[in-house]
Each structure stands twice: as structure tokens, then as C-alpha cells.
């Protein structure tokens, strides 16, 4: 069993993913082979899309 501290990039990504999970219910991805942290799902903010839908211009 290998224990090692996270490097700076991994730590920042994990903190970011935990924050996204807590604040926005954003999924945290897990490596299927070793259950390690595999980043966060690349979700698109809901209101970003809603705004784009509501601003679709008239087409001619």
C-alpha cells in the first residue's frame, strides 16, 4: 500500500472538486482501478445554458 502526500496540483484539484461537490452538488470522479481521485465531472452550469436558451435570437 502506497501512501504519499498529494502534490500541489493534485491538492488544488481535490479542494476544487470538494468545493464544487459541497456547493453545487458536482460529481467527484473515482478511478475504477484503485479508487483514487480522478477529477470532477466537467459539468456545465445550469443557468449558463438557461440564459443561452432564453437569448436564442429570432431566425429568418
Amino acid at each position: 500500500m502506497d501512501f504519499r502526500p498529494l502534490n500541489d496540483l493534485e491538492r488544488r484539484q481535490l479542494i476544487n472538486a470538494l468545493r464544487g461537490n459541497a456547493e453545487s452538488d458536482r460529481a467527484i470522479l473515482m478511478n475504477r482501478r484503485d479508487t483514487g481521485f480522478a477529477g470532477a465531472a466537467d459539468e456545465v452550469p445550469e443557468e449558463e445554458v438557461i440564459n443561452a436558451i432564453r437569448s436564442v435570437p429570432c431566425h429568418y
Partner: protein, 321 residues
């Protein structure tokens, strides 16, 4: 003594200077730290359309043309995934019967489309808007100048600053050979006399450019919602308000002997309990689920948000009692 005092002052000054020059420790925020999986967007090189979406476009375009308002323009918002150099189209949101349309323009009913997006997003939170398809009654297979005036600014709000645009026309090569679709050009797909021509437009570009179309096997994630579009159009504003005010609202498209409907499930504070609301175009039915058993509730209110709050107030009053 004077020199000792001077050394102490120098040390203090040095300490202050180092403190000021030290990089400030800041807790990273979501806005400052980029996601590991963020896509580096480049110019779109192709659009990948699922067979489910292609079926929807051709079937509903044919259906529209045979309807009373068949001469008017119609269209769909396209939902999907935006990858580095391609967009994958996975869902269509129709313009709606309440769209503002005529023979030379169409403005979608965005209230129903926004609600439908919230429903479809439950399946995959990566879904975004990738573009728009609309039809031309004549044979103009290219977006018009008027389209460009609106689209050129609108695409700035899309992922990658670029959008996919399809133009539907009814001037395909041979109306009799409709057994299967053909692709006479990389950006064109024809089925019978119906034709869809595909383009991309990025912010700052002076014109649309033909976009290679490829088909893959997959669903139209929003197709189960299309039969209940009149319901969405009738109740979209109130359901959307409810969704934004309450936490954990879930949607499900369903169909029973009463026809298609949208089921809203609102979890209550006690685990396993929920308020369920079946919404149809001209009917709203309320249920409370307790211990896995649905209990019919007589709330005579077709305004779904007002009915839910009346029901929640009644439940709260009973808790106090």
C-alpha cells in the same frame, strides 16, 4: 547601546519587508483554479448527430409541413456535448406551438425549452446548448443575413464561442427515394425531399462555414418530452419558479390512460416522504407519499406552484397539531 538599538530596528525593518514580499497565501476558489477536465476548445470541425436526433428532425419537420401552420418556419434548440473540435448533438427542444413564427421568421418559445433543459439535464449535467436548427420554407439552404445578425453575437455565450446551425429546406433531390437518408455533401443530409444543411459560426467570423456532419447511434434525450410539449408550454413559468425556489425537485415524463404528463417529485424533510404532482396541459393532480404509500390529496388548484405551497402549508399545520 545606540548600535544595538539600530540592529534591532534593522531586523524589524527586514522582517516587515520580507513579510510584504512573501507571496500571499490565498485559498483557491473555483473561479481561480481551473478544472482538470476543462476542454481546450478549438474551431469546430464536425458535428456528430445521434440517429435519435436525426429521426426527430426529419420526422417532426415532415409532420410540421403537413400541419396547418406548415408554411411557417420552425426549429429546434440542440443540446449536447462540446468537445475540443466537435459537437455531439444528443437532444432537441422544439420551437413549440406558442413560438412566434411566420413564413419568414421563427422565435422559439424559450420558457418551455428552458424547463425541458432542466428535465433533460437530470440525465447528464454536462449537457449544454450547442446550436440551433431552423427551417426555410423556400430553397435557401444557407442561414440568411438576418440570421447572421443575431447569431454572430449570440455564439459568444456558447462553449467555445461557436455554434452549430442547421437549415431545413424541403428541396431534397428526389421525393420518391425516401427509404434511407443520403449525404450528397459532407454538411448535407437528405431524406426524401427534406434536407438539412449544417454550418458553424464562431464569434468574429464574417460568415457561416459548412460543417461536416456524421451520424452515430444514440438517443434524442428530450424526445420523451415532445408529446407533452403543450403541457410544458402551459405550465413552464410556474414549474420553473417552483424548481428554483425548492431544493431537490425531480422531473419524470410519463404517460398513462390520461395521456402524457410531467411528474414532479418534491422531497419532504422526513426521509422517504415526498409531494408528487402530475401535471398535464389542463389538469394538475397532487399526491403525498408517506411510508412508500401514495395518498391522494384534494387540492383544487391548476396553478402548480400555488397548489404545492397550499399543500405544504397544510402539511406544516398538521405537524404543529
Amino acid at each position: 547601546m545606540w548600535q544595538a538599538l539600530k540592529r534591532t530596528a534593522d531586523r524589524l525593518l527586514d522582517s516587515v519587508n520580507r513579510s510584504l514580499q512573501r507571496p500571499q497565501r490565498r485559498f483557491p476558489t473555483a473561479a481561480r483554479v481551473p478544472s482538470a477536465s476543462r476542454v481546450p476548445y478549438g474551431p469546430l470541425r464536425r458535428v456528430l448527430v445521434t440517429d435519435g436526433v436525426a429521426h426527430t428532425l426529419f420526422e417532426e419537420y415532415a409532420s410540421h409541413r403537413s400541419a396547418a401552420r406548415g408554411e411557417e418556419e420552425t426549429g429546434w434548440v440542440l443540446l449536447g456535448l462540446r468537445d475540443t473540435e466537435e459537437a455531439v448533438v444528443l437532444a432537441t427542444l422544439p420551437a413549440g406551438a406558442e413560438a412566434d413564427s411566420g413564413v419568414a421568421h421563427v422565435r422559439f418559445n424559450s420558457e418551455a425549452q428552458a424547463l425541458a433543459y432542466r428535465v433533460v439535464r437530470q440525465r447528464d449535467r454536462r449537457l449544454t446548448i450547442v446550436g440551433v436548427v431552423h427551417t426555410h420554407p423556400g430553397s435557401l439552404r444557407h442561414p440568411s443575413d438576418g440570421d447572421y445578425n443575431g447569431d454572430s453575437g449570440w455564439v459568444a455565450g456558447l462553449r467555445g464561442g461557436e455554434g452549430v446551425f442547421g437549415i431545413g429546406t424541403a428541396d431534397g433531390p428526389d421525393a420518391s427515394a425516401s427509404l434511407f437518408a443520403q449525404q450528397p455533401r459532407p454538411n448535407v443530409q437528405c431524406l426524401g425531399d427534406l434536407r438539412f444543411s449544417w454550418y458553424a459560426l464562431g464569434g468574429g467570423e464574417s460568415d457561416y462555414r459548412p460543417l461536416q456532419l456524421e451520424l452515430t447511434i444514440g438517443p434524442d434525450l428530450a424526445r420523451p418530452l415532445h408529446p407533452l410539449w403543450p403541457t410544458l408550454e402551459a405550465h413552464a413559468k410556474r414549474i420553473d419558479r417552483l424548481y428554483r425556489q425548492l431544493t431537490g425537485v425531480r422531473f419524470e415524463a410519463m404517460c398513462d390512460e390520461g395521456g402524457p404528463g410531467l411528474m414532479l417529485t418534491l422531497p419532504l424533510a422526513d426521509g422517504g416522504e415526498a409531494v408528487c404532482v402530475l401535471v398535464r396541459q389542463k389538469e394538475v393532480r397532487y399526491r403525498v407519499v408517506r411510508g412508500g404509500e401514495p395518498l391522494a390529496v384534494d387540492v383544487n388548484d391548476d396553478y402548480v406552484d400555488r397548489g404545492v405551497y397550499q399543500l405544504l402549508a397544510e402539511l406544516a399545520g398538521r405537524e404543529d397539531g
